[in-house]
Amino acid sequence: MSDFEPKIIAFVCNWCTYAGADLAGTSRIKYAHNIRIVRFPCTGRIDFMLLLKAFQSGADGIIVSGCHPADCHYTAGNYHARRRWIVFQNLLNFLGIDTRRITFSWVSAAEGAKWGHLVNEVVDNIKKIGPYTEYAKLGKIGIGSISEGNYARIE
């Protein structure tokens, strides 16, 4: 598993974490290359379905990050997001989806270093846990596989 390079997708808000990641850049803080950032106006905009879609498209880990409480550029988007994540995380965990792969964080525009650490930590952690295939594999339809699972009831 040593050559496993995880795919990490980050959903970040434009004002805090995206800017924080920019700051990490201007500060030349080096971190793992496995991360791909998708920019949102606010964590409040982040649809929980996108997290599922990210796993479907092959992400091994997800970072969702926005402004610290009280710092939201739009006042309260992060608070609403926080509640959403509480519910979502509980539900996923109940369904046995590996919630260790989703990291929620607050990274402010000033926390370039925190961003760098966070990415490295997540990448290291996911490297330890290994690739996440069980969710994305759910979409696999075996050709002509009546017995393997395409029958009325799949086992």
């Binding site: 339809i141 075996g142 002509g144 009546i146 017995s147 029958y151 009325a152």
Partner: protein, 342 residues
Amino acid sequence: MKILSGKIMNYKTLKIDNLDLFFNEIKKSGKNLLVPKKKGKTTYFSSFININDVEFNYIQTTISPKSALFPKVEELISFKKDDGTYVVTEPSIEKETIVFGLRPCDAVGLEYLSNFFLNEKSDFTVRLRKENTTLITLACKNFDENCFCTSVGLSPASIKGSDICLTDIGNGLFYAEIITDKGEKLIAEHSALFSNAEKINKESYVAQVPLKFDSDNLIKNIKNYYNSEKWTINSLPCLGCGACAFVCPTCTCFNIEDEANPVCGTRLRCWDSCAFGIFTLHASGHNPRPIQSNRWRHRVLHKFGYSVTNMDTLSCVGCGRCIRVCPAGMNIIEQILDLQEA
């Protein structure tokens, strides 16, 4: 309209105690054996693992065995980008499948279903599945208030569509009617388990399902029913889910979905239901069947009218699954009786 006919090639008996052996031999031969299983209130077909998992105590399985020919999702083609070019793969269905325990009405249903897919333009995957599937029917000993096979010209003794039909004749014996070459071939592979037998009269061993309505009369008058106001009243409870269609052995509607990205993808066929509001929704926003009563009418008329016109046969086999599964207690028998009453 009687569709009871079918030529019987041979008669055998099978000790019920040998069923376990029979199943295990089939399993060992590498074929796929589907048997009824039960989970909670649901009976369904699933791969044989152990005789103890096999459910024998059912009037009718909740889910029809149509998946054997027409699964809820199946891949039609898949593609994959390889060195800059796209490689397309078509499905190949080679594994032989044996379905055990479907009811005589189901066998007729599957025959209708395969005729539908193979009639004019042969459907590739259904044809492959049909060729590779052997149906071992289990004649009904019991029935419930939702069974109405006799009202649509069938009976628990029907052998149409079956490859082998088993009837429990007591004394720990199944009476086996071998109807097709496929059935003959399967018996031959396990000949040690079967003893030769004479033709017997099955009627006394199978359930006597009462007649609920007169289908000949229904077919004759069906054109007059289109504008009946009974559709609206009777469909008020209908909530527009697809349960009835999905458990029905003869519902053939499907939807084609492409799941793809620029690198790889598949084209999938999956079940669809005329009960869904968006089933007939046009891109323009117009919906020719805008309300649920229209959809309900369409489903009933299709079973008893349109399929008679198009395929010269009813597409309802009286299995009663749609009645048992309906969340809102919709009952096709009630609807037909109401129509005939008017």
